[in-house]
Subunit: 173 residues, 2 copies
């Protein structure tokens, strides 16, 4: 499937309501943990997505579109949410993410990007040369990656409860 | 996290609206394919979940609760949806799944299961002895497994569009 802005926006628009449907009515046991574990809980993932809306996708797209002298992106802090989300509820994070995402989709929409603009390049601080098209496609896949991560982190909570069915459940492997 | 019926119902109740939020407004390119591939598309997954509501979880729970002479479950057809969903739209499948799921949650709720009932056993045709508790926990994990599968099948459509970012996106591996 070839990248198209309108198709990308379909998925980007669906993510806030998907997370709200999946997580909005769950007990805290499903979405966070008191244990110090490396595994990100749903609460952490939503905070990470918020930080992406604020510092990653649209800010980087602006750098590419501006085509200024320095087109190197500011490095993204993958762990910012552990500080930034402190003291907030998951409901607050879901609201914040939805608001930021809609603002960003509005901005993306307003650009009415041409193919020539989608081919413009910027510089990723670790990966090197990238195009605007790749940045926007990655935004979409990144959303889906984290929907997947949330489903996985929830499933693993029942790791010890499914008995011999474990063998059939690839999500637990 | 220990299995509890009320916690399980939280996730089981969230799945129809999660699938509707994720898939309900997407173009067909995201949810189905003309190609003959082994990979299940979102359309196939929703059909599979419908077949589970009709023939797997609650029917098997009834076999266990009845404690009749033959407690061996009818084998589940993992490919039934390829015939059963033919000619239907994804919107129809999402409606059907939601209706069946709510009926099944109502039935589960009405049983008001005790710990002793959750320990009752049935016989899986391939895996052997299982408890009602394990069956219900597996129902939950199975939902999450397929949410994960849908996110993955959508992400893979942009496999060729993300450029060097591929390295960071575990969902594409």
């Amino acid at each position: 499937m070839q990248f198209e802005v309108s198709r990308a926006i379909e998925v980007l628009s669906a993510t806030p309501s998907t997370l709200r449907a999946l997580l909005g009515n769950l007990s805290g046991d499903w979405t966070s943990s008191d244990k110090e574990e490396d595994r990100w809980e749903s609460f952490d993932v939503v905070g990470h997505l918020i930080h992406g809306e604020e510092t990653d996708w649209i800010p980087r797209a602006r750098i590419i579109l501006d085509q200024g002298e320095n087109r190197t992106f500011v490095p993204f802090d993958r762990f910012a949410q552990f500080e930034k989300s402190k003291g907030k509820s998951l409901a607050e994070l879901l609201d914040e993410f939805e608001r930021l995402r809609w603002d960003n989709i509005d901005e993306l929409h307003s650009w009415d990007l041409t193919d020539a603009q989608l081919d413009l390049e910027g510089m990723h601080p670790e990966l090197g040369q990238v195009t605007l098209r790749q940045l926007l496609a990655t935004w979409v896949v990144h959303d889906l990656n984290h929907v997947r991560q949330i489903a996985t982190s929830m499933a693993k909570k029942y790791d010890g409860e499914v008995g011999v069915w474990r063998e059939y459940l690839s999500i637990l492997k």
